[in-house]
Symmetry: C2
């Protein structure tokens, strides 16, 4: 087994989304999904939280994205209301009204201004929201709020769609003498190719912390963390209409008042965001394994990103990974098609640690052994370019027949 346990260490602890001081949550079944599983979540902070969020860069963005952008502008939130089963995207003016109304209802439930609520939706595109169900669902969630692990789990479940697994991560660290907790949950399985302005997919991620951090600072830290996590995961490179990653900081614990404190917080944020992103890749639609693409020695950061993304998104590479096939030609040629500076004569490719290509030429290797190594739940393909010092890591998954099954029959 080759899981990179770095990405899972934190989720095996007893920490959860509501471990940071000052948060409560609930997840209820509002009747939006056909199956009776939680489909409406409410996450609130007891006080006005410093907040930052990143949203999809897709020109076709859902109504809650439009409303969310407005509500996050002042860097403060009291809560998040989110539903699964309906994306409220491509729903025109009525959709926008519905997203605003969700905030009104949620604001009533917890006693705050609607503008202090961030709305999110995920699910089918192009259907009007069942607002009766949404309204009673939000009211029920408002009644059900709590800060136990069960409450955290029910919220985590309420945001899932085609996900097969709940996704969460948390960590704890010290700022001065104070213990600070940072936690998060996310969802995402298909339509994953975030390019959020800071991240993207219908990837939804919500993070909580009790750190005391200014909104502007939080925005900057979140942007940077997203770039190296949610924006570095791809399942099908289809930037969703609804991608959202938000963080709320209650300020009830350690203050980021020193460079050292900021560094500790940034490291914790990276850890949690990367764990969540990794879990998305691992639960990619039809995925049988995580494929980690590392491109090093690139001429520039954008070249490294472009090559890593081209490799990670090639259906030919993803099918080869599904078949445990050390077909390295597809990987090298995917780097070559990215349209950036790249010279195969200088490049080396390693599959699961075995050099299979060096300086423009094949290297003899034990095909059966490498194929066996590719059968692991985590596969690493490392292309080193000898063109410069830039490096990028992208997490993806293989492309299986199940991906086709899931996506050929999802809607109708």
């Amino acid at each position: 087994m080759r899981w990179d346990f770095r990405y899972f260490a934190t989720i095996m602890s007893d920490l959860h989304l509501l471990s940071p001081e000052g948060f409560r949550a609930a997840g209820v079944y509002a009747g939006i999904k056909s199956r009776a599983v939680p489909d409406l979540g409410l996450l609130i902070c007891e006080r006005s939280a410093a907040a930052a969020a990143a949203f999809t860069t897709n020109k076709v963005f859902a109504a809650p994205i439009k409303v969310g952008r407005e509500h996050i502008r002042d860097g403060r939130l009291r809560g998040v209301v989110v539903n699964a089963g309906n994306a409220n995207a491509c729903t025109g003016r009525q959709g926008e009204k519905d997203a605003r109304w969700m905030c009104v209802i949620a604001g009533n439930a917890i006693g705050c201004d609607p503008a202090e609520i961030l709305p999110s939706s995920t699910g089918i595109i192009g259907r009007l929201m069942p607002m009766g169900k949404i309204e009673s669902g939000i009211a029920a969630a408002g009644q059900a709020l709590g800060d136990s692990v069960e409450h955290a789990l029910s919220f985590a479940d309420a945001i899932l769609t085609t996900d097969t697994k709940r996704k969460s991560a948390a960590t704890r660290f010290k700022i001065g003498r104070e213990m600070v907790t940072l936690a998060g949950v996310c969802k995402g399985s298909g339509m994953i190719g975030p390019r959020m302005a800071v991240p993207h997919a219908t990837m939804l991620a919500y993070l909580t912390t009790d750190a005391d951090v200014r909104p502007a600072q939080l925005r900057k830290l979140m942007a940077s963390a997203c770039e190296r996590s949610f924006n570095a995961v791809t399942v099908d490179d289809h930037t969703s209409t609804n991608d959202t990653a938000a963080i709320l900081a209650s300020g009830l614990s350690g203050k980021l008042d020193s460079e050292r404190a900021v560094k500790s917080f940034a490291a914790a944020l990276d850890e949690v965001c990367q764990s969540l992103a990794y879990q998305i890749a691992a639960d990619g639609e039809g995925a049988t394994k995580v494929v980690k693409i590392i491109v090093s020695g690139a001429a520039s950061q954008s070249a490294a990103n472009a090559m890593a993304r081209a490799i990670a998104n090639s259906p030919l590479v993803k099918c080869a990974m599904n078949g445990n096939d050390p077909n390295w030609g597809r990987i090298v040629s995917a780097a070559g098609l990215a349209g950036v500076t790249f010279d195969p004569e200088k490049a080396t490719l390693k599959l699961q640690g075995t050099v299979v290509f060096r300086n423009g030429q094949p290297v003899a290797f034990d095909g059966a052994a490498v194929s066996k190594a590719l059968a692991a739940p985590e596969v690493v393909a490392h292309l080193s370019c000898r063109m410069g010092n830039a490096e990028a890591t992208i997490w993806t998954c293989d492309l299986s027949k199940d991906y086709v099954t899931i996506n050929a029959d999802y809607h109708t």
Copy 2:
């Protein structure tokens, strides 16, 4: 049945690759493929032909591409030598020597300079060429040359790899009083996402004509035709290491000495290239249907191209097409992620002629009827943007479980 017969009319005639005056060809089994089917082809012109070619833009290009670029530089060729089963890509200096040696042997076989031969290879990446088999294969093909329909077909077969069908097209038109013939064959099924500088895939295409056309003129006409045909087809958007499209003009018939003659020739060239490109989409790996994406009313040509390509390459869109699923949200959101000017509030989407989305909102439609219409062998999705006058058409195919089967098990 909804095949667009425009694209097939020409291939149902009795014209073929060797119908233009002055050409001979052969396809033989050289033993490169494991199955005993033609895998080595030789196409020659009796005299020095005006010639033009477009090659892959992939930074990882095969040895024959490097040699071919040199040999085409003066705009003249005597012939083409091509093998299937081995791409001669990522094979370093030995690969380049082998590609040059293929030209020497072919030159010997037909009595010309090696620099008058364009070499091509297609097949597995990263294996040295079996030069013994190649040499005797070229010699055998040299002996077998002829201009019958059988000769044309054996050459067309010799270039195939995962293709399930032979691909050819031809047309005949008048320049003044002279009858001019233009014909072509091609291959391509997977690793199709040509961006040739003019086109790309391992798409290989060879065209013959007896028109009398200057090399510079031919280059310009070929570039333009490729942009609207081979560069407008995508199966998996994976620009190959070996993509080549070449045309040889024997000059034995009508001369392009008037604007009208040039126009006639350009129209014929478009017709043949588009027929060939369409056949590639129709035979895409695992394809059950051709999906034609039209984006009109875009703000610029590059915006139209980017949106059409983003839709055509979305695995979610392609899976929906496989499932006859009128999941238009995936199409509209794919346009939105292309990173170009697009406003869903102004857009209209038609699936098989039925409006399903207009001005940012869903339009009620008969889901069962549209789903039934999507079960046709050709599906048209037309997105009109109301942003400008630019238009692009891209041909692709659906994504089926068979694509995964073919590509998870191709190599090992």
